[in-house]
């Protein structure tokens, strides 16, 4: 039988990357995201015995992370403000990320939270509409509408941008 420690380590290895990415897209700040991820896994360790179904681990961790994120605002008594979008990608080496890639990241970060969150769940965790609906406690139609609007906004913005650039260059 696996010890609790082994289960925990397996959980960390399996999910830390996606959980971290999700946190970054949620809070749009890498160091804050890292703090939240650490809190999340500490809490996960404490209640690891409650996790019976390993298949539920992903959504369980996401739930813990969202709670930890909310707690952060309670602690600091900050209003829920969206952080400036320029925040995140300055550190990424430009050679790694194409100009368009960077535009897409900006646009994704620029989406309001209710559009960004379901989209990120779908993109990072490959969740279905039903799964997202369950995770966010929304009905599926709402989720599908938000996903549609999120992609629509990004695509239209990209089209506008490339038209603008094209116009400038031309």
């Amino acid at each position: 039988m696996k010890t609790k420690q082994q289960r925990y380590e397996a959980l960390v290895h399996a999910f830390h990357a996606d959980i971290y990415r999700y946190a970054v897209w949620l809070v749009k700040d890498k160091s804050v995201a890292e703090d939240i991820v650490q809190e999340t896994f500490l809490r996960a360790w404490k209640s690891l015995d409650a996790l019976q179904d390993e298949h539920a681990a992903k959504s369980w961790l996401i739930t813990i992370l969202k709670r930890e994120n909310a707690r952060r605002f309670e602690r600091k008594q900050l209003p829920m403000v969206e952080v400036d979008e320029e925040f995140l990608f300055d550190e990424i080496e430009p050679t790694q990320v194409s100009m368009q890639q960077r535009d897409i990241q900006r646009l994704l970060a620029g989406l309001s939270i209710e559009y960004r969150e379901p989209l990120v769940l779908q993109l990072i965790f490959g969740m279905s509409g039903d799964e997202i609906a369950q995770q966010l406690d929304l009905n599926k139609n709402t989720v599908m509408t938000r996903l549609f609007r999120a992609r629509n906004q990004i695509r239209e913005a990209l089209v506008t941008q490339s038209n603008l650039r094209g116009a400038k260059n031309g």
Binding site: H13, Y20, F41, M144, L147
Partner: protein, 235 residues
């Protein structure tokens, strides 16, 4: 499926396997083109979400957990150790006090005890007749051949660890006490002793110790004689 509905479904889930969407795309090249476009956008989006994860994050998560666990265990052990130490201390101190009390100076215990003799009389069963006294003396291996009229109370009293028989006599000189000490009482007692209020004397009857205590001015000699004559111990 109309254009809007098609777009809605494709945007909501570019990887959809919805038959109606597939059929619509097959039937209409422009819809298929739109879908391909969205799919390629989605690849870029997926790539965009793929932020570099700090390389040591997993190790740090495991590390922070094990250090927390370790400190908590250590605190727990420390706590337990502290509790154990406190218990040991309390037990040690109480035992010391207890054994000190048990082995405290017999002389002072006697003198302190008789200071409360009036209270003892008021609680005791009175009067103590000869049968009653002898019944109690029996556990000390002794008996009174003849009663002593003045004996009012016969009580077992503990002086430290020693169970004694305390006889209280009501006399014109006030209350007098006779203590029959147990056979194995090792504490040394002088033949004569006193404090500001009381005085006592030790009698040795067939290797058994009997102590008489009375007020500072009381005459104990007549009582000594009576006890020596009447109190007998079987070997």
């Amino acid at each position: 499926m109309d254009e809007l509905e098609f777009r809605r479904r494709v945007y909501a889930d570019p990887q959809t396997t919805d038959e109606a969407v597939i059929a619509a795309a097959k039937a209409d090249a422009s819809k298929q083109a739109f879908w391909n476009d969205v799919k390629s956008l989605d690849k870029k989006l997926e790539k965009a979400t793929h932020i570099a994860v700090p390389t040591d994050l997993a190790h740090r998560l495991i590390w922070q957990q094990s250090t927390k666990l370790y400190t908590r265990k250590k605190q727990k052990t420390r706590g337990l150790f502290a509790v154990a130490a406190s218990i040991a201390l309390v037990v040690g101190v109480s035992f010391t006090l207890w054994s000190q009390w048990l082995n405290a100076d017999l002389q002072s215990q006697l003198l302190t005890h008789v200071a409360h003799v009036e209270e003892e009389i008021s609680h005791a069963q009175k009067p103590a007749d000869l049968t009653h006294i002898n019944a109690r003396l029996a556990s000390f291996g002794g008996y009174l051949e003849q009663g002593i009229d003045e004996i009012e109370v016969a009580n077992y009293c503990y002086l430290g660890a020693a169970k004694t028989l305390h006889l209280i006599l009501k006399t014109a000189q006030g209350s007098l006490s006779v203590f029959v000490l147990p056979e194995h009482e090792n504490r040394v007692l002088p033949d004569q002793f006193s404090n500001a209020q009381f005085k006592g004397s030790l009698l040795n009857l067939s290797n058994r110790n009997v102590v008489l205590v009375g007020g500072q001015n009381a005459d104990l000699s007549w009582l000594e004689d009576k006890i020596e004559q009447r109190l007998k111990f079987s070997a």
